[in-house]
Each structure stands twice: as structure tokens, then as C-alpha cells.
């Protein structure tokens, strides 16, 4: 067995497999996030043609009989995640980057809850030492906004990670990219503000109430488990996040001038 470790948002996972092509994909796809050292998580990976056969095209995450253990199935992979012992195993149909990345996104969405973190459909950028989180579904302008921000450090143009520790949220770079097809930097910064994206004819920010912010944030949280305890913890983290930093609706047009209205907000 060979292994390779990566760390995303401070959560280190070791991929263990006998398939060199899996490690080659991981080494190449996550090259900015490789990190030797003691792992929080161990992921055992296998490749077999029949993996996931019969499973739905959409991902299915269901609770196993054992506490804190989840079964994850999709047409191209099948696996388990055991939260209490921080172990996962997965069998892919083949060693392709798309399947591996999808499984890692799901695994991290589950593992981060324990670490008081969330994966959010959002672009995130560091500017003037503070992180800014721009939430929105596909087509909302996350990648465009990242491309327009040439003086900012990219954390992600698609899936951002926020962890709340000691009541203060930090936003972390991720390798989970969108249309930009470029990983964020493996850096983190204190979160200065949350912005919900809207296309507009002018740049404008408007503060939203905590209730509005929670209503806007939760549909953008990447979360698959139909589990009452985890759901309660996700809501708690989201609520803590909203209470810690200001939230705004941001209308923007296609030029970098939106940073001026953010700086004034």
C-alpha cells in the first residue's frame, strides 16, 4: 500500500491505496494542498469496475446502522465514512479526477462539521488581510467576481470553507474549483463579511438581517447527510457564523468597482 497526505482547511487526510494511478491523480489535482504529517483522517481507496453499479446518478448519503457512520453512493463510486474514528473507504469505477474530487467534497462536508466548519457554494478572496465570502449558486457570478479581483488572493471560485473557532470565523483556501479551473491558495484569513450575489446594473451593498442571512446562507451550504444531529450542528455553525460577521446583498456589474462599495460598507 502507498499513501499520500493532503490538508484542506487544516484537516489532514491520508489517502491509502495500492493503485498508483489514484495517487498520481491526487498528487497532480491537489498539488497545492499536499501536506505530510499526522493525519486526522484515513481514506482507503480501491478501484473496481463494478463499484457503484446500480447506484443513482445523483449522490446518495445514508446513515449506516453504526453511530456516525454514513454510506455514500453514486454511479461512479461507493464508500463509507465513519465520523467517530475518522476513517473512510471508497471504491471508484476508475481513477479519474472528477470522481475523486466529488468524493472528497462529500467527505470534507461531513468531516468539517465536527471541526465547526462548513463548505459553502461561494467564491472567497483575501483582500487587505481580510477574507470575503461571496455566496451564490451556479450562474450567480462567483467565477466572474474572482476573475475581476486581480488584486486579491483567491481562496476559491466555487466552494469555500469557513471554520468557526473561538467564535471567530476564518475562511480557508480550497482545491475545489469551478469554471476558473484553478485551485485557491492554501491560505486562510479572518472573515470580514458575507455577500449574497445578485447581478445588477450598478454596484450596491445592502445589509441583511441575521434571519435573512441564515435563510440565504443555508441553501448554499454543501451538505448531504439526512441526519438530525448533523443538521442541528450545521445550523449552529451557520448561526454562529452569521452572528460573528456582517452580511450583505451585493449587486454588481462586470467591473471591479464592487470592491469600492464593499470597502465603504
Amino acid at each position: 500500500m502507498d499513501e499520500l497526505s493532503l490538508a484542506i482547511a487544516g484537516l489532514r487526510a491520508t489517502v491509502v491505496t495500492q493503485h498508483r494511478d489514484i495517487l498520481d491523480v491526487v498528487r497532480d489535482r491537489y498539488k497545492g494542498f499536499l501536506s505530510p504529517g499526522t493525519a486526522d483522517w484515513r481514506i482507503e481507496v480501491d478501484v473496481r469496475r463494478a463499484a457503484g453499479q446500480g447506484a443513482h446518478d445523483d449522490v446518495r448519503v445514508s446513515r449506516d446502522a453504526a453511530p456516525g457512520r454514513f454510506v455514500i453512493e453514486r454511479a461512479d463510486f461507493a464508500g463509507t465514512v465513519a465520523l467517530p474514528v475518522r476513517r473512510a473507504s471508497v471504491t471508484f469505477v476508475d481513477a479519474n479526477e472528477y470522481s475523486i474530487d466529488s468524493f472528497l467534497r462529500i467527505l470534507y462536508s461531513l468531516a468539517l462539521v465536527e471541526a465547526r466548519g462548513l463548505i459553502v457554494h461561494a467564491a472567497s478572496l483575501i483582500r487587505n488581510g481580510r477574507a470575503h465570502l461571496f455566496c451564490g449558486r451556479s450562474g450567480s457570478g462567483k467565477t466572474t467576481l474572482a476573475q475581476l479581483s486581480t488584486d486579491a488572493t483567491l481562496l476559491s471560485d466555487e466552494l469555500s470553507i469557513v471554520r468557526v473557532s473561538d467564535g471567530w470565523p476564518r475562511c480557508h483556501g480550497t482545491p475545489f474549483w469551478g469554471e476558473l479551473a484553478r485551485a485557491g491558495d492554501d491560505r486562510s484569513a479572518s472573515l470580514g463579511g458575507i455577500y449574497f450575489l445578485h447581478h445588477g446594473s450598478r454596484h450596491a451593498v445592502q445589509a441583511v438581517t441575521p434571519r435573512q442571512a441564515v435563510e440565504r446562507l443555508l441553501p448554499n451550504v454543501l451538505f448531504f447527510a439526512r441526519d438530525a444531529d448533523l443538521t442541528a450542528r450545521v445550523l449552529q455553525i451557520a448561526a454562529d457564523l452569521i452572528e460573528a460577521v456582517p452580511s450583505f446583498d451585493l449587486s454588481f456589474r462586470l467591473d471591479p468597482g464592487f470592491w469600492e462599495v464593499i470597502d465603504r460598507a
Binding site: P210, R211, E215, L218, A228, T231, V234, Q236
Partner: protein, 96 residues
């Protein structure tokens, strides 16, 4: 009319902001938000408080006639029950 009791689905997570509840259902991660009257009913859906007492509170706090309040509450309870958020029983839930 026989007494009824409301109980929140234990597979929900919820918070109240400025008197309005935001509810997340674990089954499908659907988000529901309630107005002030709905939040009063939701907070009172503890399996122990009779529905008539909740109607009484609504009449007192929102200046509504009892008949109107009861009709509105039943419609609201029906909607939340269909969404899987509430259950209605003829007797109080046993406290474990």
C-alpha cells in the same frame, strides 16, 4: 371539540430571529421560515401544551377573535404537518 396537542418533529433544527423561526428539516434539508404567529405556535408545539391554550395566546397577543384564530391555527398546523414538521395527537406526549 376534543383537545389536541402539537409536537415538533425531533428531526428539525431551528432558531428564532427577531420573533421569527427558521427551521431546517433533516430529511431533505428544506428550510422553512415562520412569521410571528407561526413562531408562537411552533415554540408552543412541545407535545404538552393544549392547542386551545395556543389559540388563547394568539388571541391575547395579536388581538384576533377566537373563531378566526382557531381557523387560522388549524390551517397552519395542517400545512406544517404535511411538510413533516409537526405531528398532532389527542393526548399529551409522555415526558421521558
Amino acid at each position: 371539540m376534543p383537545e389536541q396537542y402539537l409536537a415538533r418533529n425531533s428531526r428539525t433544527a431551528w432558531r428564532v430571529y427577531d420573533g421569527e423561526a427558521v427551521i431546517l428539516l433533516a430529511e431533505d434539508s428544506t428550510l422553512n421560515t415562520l412569521n410571528a404567529v407561526g413562531t408562537l405556535i411552533w415554540e408552543g408545539a412541545d407535545g404538552q401544551t393544549p392547542l386551545s391554550a395556543l389559540v388563547g395566546r394568539i388571541c391575547a397577543e395579536f388581538d384576533v377573535e377566537a373563531v378566526q384564530a382557531e381557523r387560522d391555527v388549524m390551517a397552519f398546523v395542517d400545512k406544517l404537518s404535511q411538510r413533516g414538521l409537526l405531528s398532532v395527537t389527542a393526548s399529551p406526549h409522555e415526558v421521558s
